[in-house]
Symmetry: none
Subunit: 226 residues, 2 copies
DNA sequence: TAATTATATCATAAAAAGATTACCGCCTTA
DNA sequence: TAAGGCGGTAATCTTTTTATGATATAATTA
């Protein structure tokens, strides 16, 4: 049974926090949000995290303390978020043991890729984060997908769709749920057929026989299930 | 798995130290800095170095002790940095087993070529410092690159780019990471396309078929990977 | 079974990302 | 000081991705 990576996100800006949480959960992380250093420190004592993203400029003191504690406790990998012009903090952060930093504003893809890099370096990639379904292997941390041992290249959206499906393995996801989780809108705004087309393309890439899918199954009238 | 050469830099002048570290790391060395003899001696006990650059005039005593210890421990090659008018020290340093010396101020190229010369003489060039990828051979110590046995001449930037890529082999480096590590700035300051152009130039020189690169692979939406 | 509805397939337009080419200015070196 | 290499930019071309409409097929039900 694969476990999701548990991620601590310390960010006081509500908008950013919510956006990141959404995006990261799509990537297969279980996200815990704190909006200040105090509550983060609190969380750390009671829970273990595989990874942390910390905004340096927090309302109550800076994020360095959080980083320090994480490092002391279990050498948890940390990425700092900083403002563009905050060079000093960056140096200090890296001194403190941070594994990487990324300046705001950033692109989500960039962040995801850095997270993977850091995780890889930290050797946190274990069997736990590899999912195996009918010859299909999804490495959540590296973002790589293999079919029968051969690497398959998915586009960004295809990957997201697959991830949404397998992270809800066993349960049927409605078309609308899928639309919302991947395009962030309900069926009214995106052509309903778009989802169908993406499912087809995904099957084309990961199924042995796309005409008779064994991984992504159609549940007529409702949606799809893995 | 090829290892980078590990270099000990003992220099009290902060500006010089930082500059050298940067430049040497670009050349493929892993650089450890100490700003005084004491901490250098300390480092030597706990770590092994392939090479050392030592400023003779250190705040706490001179660099000779450091040299002596390095020679005793593992006959590590040493280059001394000296002031122009310090003839006596030079003689003493060479007596002590130093392999070369260079007077300040010096040009980086000069230093690099001396380092290579010393390493060559000291026979420290081992398989360890040679990376081999699909017909491409990179000799980290000599700074030479060969493609299918024939030497390829890269410009300074091309070499840095290649080095950054291969020293993170297997993982995707984002465009921004590459820009940062090679131009030391984020995407806002250097034309984003510049990276693309350099990748192309590099491919032109090291790929069998630049149109279908097998060494430097593009990961659309993120960056490049070796 | 015909009509209806849901899903699958195909083809293609629009947009985005990257590759390619050509060019310019600067510095080195002869 | 002229020639050539290097670093960087701009404009253009190519490829890939994303999204949609049209049509075909399969399942459901009146």
């Amino acid at each position: 049974m694969p476990t999701m990576m548990k991620l601590l996100l310390v960010e006081d800006d509500e908008a950013i926090a919510v956006g990141l949480e959404y995006s990261l959960s799509q990537e297969g992380f279980e996200v815990v949000i704190c909006n200040d250093a105090a509550s983060a420190l609190d969380k750390i004592t009671s829970q273990d995290f595989d990874f942390a993203i910390i905004d340096i400029s927090l309302p109550d003191g800076n994020g360095f303390d959080v980083c320090k504690k994480l490092k002391e406790k279990g050498d948890t990998p940390v990425i700092f978020l900083t403002a563009r012009d905050d060079e000093g903090s960056v140096v200090m952060g890296l001194d403190m043991g941070a594994d990487d930093y990324i300046t705001k504003p950033f692109r989500l893809r960039e962040l995801h890729s850095r997270i993977r890099a850091v995780l890889r370096r930290a050797n946190k990639l274990s069997e736990d984060h590899i999912i195996n379904i009918g010859g299909l292997t999804v490495n959540l941390a590296e973002g790589k997908v293999k079919k029968n041992g051969r690497e398959v290249f998915l586009t960004a959206l295809e990957y997201r769709l697959l991830l949404t499906l397998i992270s809800n393995r066993g349960q049927v996801l409605t078309r609308d749920q899928l639309l919302q989780s991947i395009w962030d809108v309900s069926g009214d705004f995106v052509n309903d057929n778009t989802l169908t087309v993406y499912i087809k393309r995904l099957r084309e890439k990961i199924e042995d026989d796309p005409q008779n899918p064994t991984i992504i199954k159609t549940v007529r009238g409702i949606g799809y299930r893995v």
